[in-house]
Symmetry: C2
Subunit: 200 residues, 2 copies
Amino acid sequence: MDTRRAARKTPDERDGEIRGAARSIALEQGLVAVTQRAVAARIGVAPALVTHYRSSMEGLVVDTFRAIVAAELDEVRGATQQGTARERLRALVATALDPSRDAVTAVWVDAWSLGRRNAALAAAVREQADAWQRHAEELVTTGVAAGEFADVEPARIAWLLLGLVDGLNAQSVIHDRHDPRRAAVVLSAVERELGVASGA
Amino acid sequence: MDTRRAARKTPDERDGEIRGAARSIALEQGLVAVTQRAVAARIGVAPALVTHYRSSMEGLVVDTFRAIVAAELDEVRGATQQGTARERLRALVATALDPSRDAVTAVWVDAWSLGRRNAALAAAVREQADAWQRHAEELVTTGVAAGEFADVEPARIAWLLLGLVDGLNAQSVIHDRHDPRRAAVVLSAVERELGVASGA
DNA sequence: AGTCCTGTTGACCATGCGATCAACAAAGGT
DNA sequence: ACCTTTGTTGATCGCATGGTCAACAGGACT
């Protein structure tokens, strides 16, 4: 137990620390573990200070979810910005199903569960899910425009793709088994819908 | 507040009441709401009595999850026991995605989340997921044997099917939107994999 | 009617949560 | 060197969780 008084920092700095601590706690132990005391302990500060910066813990949880998930989507955007539409699709699936992303999946699952008791979180979940949906739709749309994919309804394919990714990821969090064939299953199904022959 | 003392009942009867209360609470407010006090209040009994019958609350939560989900699978089994393999497949998808099943989906989602902190629950989740997997596999296997489906790997298709159902259901719990096209998306993808022309 | 078994309860305890607020103290400006 | 600002804290509250245990009392049996 460190009884020393914490050094004074600027509000921006402290706020950043709090967000960072919340983020790493969420990734390590789930969104449920993002608690006033846990965050305070991690940055060596009195619990009351967390309340002082974030008037409501619910809000911090929402922000943390949003930060983690938005960062993930940004990563995916980065991984899918070049190549043919089909290559980009494969990159998206590979990134989304990457086992190193388990922590993020767990955050999604917690958010689905917590969202039923935290309206703001539920809204954030919808918002982020929609952002994913838009990204996937765009990818399909450009592929169709480029003639790489059959003339399908992009929204429909995005739905299929994300539903499948979410479902398989959720299962793998519990099963702790990451069969590499998962990606193949997703790709095969999606590519078939897109009228693309499934290859190696 | 009813201050009357609860009537004496036989252990079996009381145990049944407790299980039943836990079950309806889980369906109405989620697995997270299955708490000593909530269960006791619902059957008009002192909280201590719940502990007296179920030494650990974790155990009651696990049993409740298992009961709800197993009942669901039984229902699905009932709905898919006659007709051609393709009809049975369609019945499975229709039942699994039925909006009236939202409560059960919420229970699944809570279990995924809670399972990370409750090892016994995680085991039950795996066990029930495997039971679903087996059922879906059998359905595909018989379809393949009957020549209705292409010669595919049943496990793979079951994987696709259940992943998709889980993912779409989880999303609909948050979005509270039940687009009837969901079933069409699932069927289209699965039937394509099975080499069956997708029809009305 | 009395006895005894056992289902049931109230009174607790320890722990964890979010939140409040007066009081402290570290830095920077004068 | 003093003062003022403000980042920080301790103490505490209210509430909820699971769990324990001695004591109560309903009801069947004698």
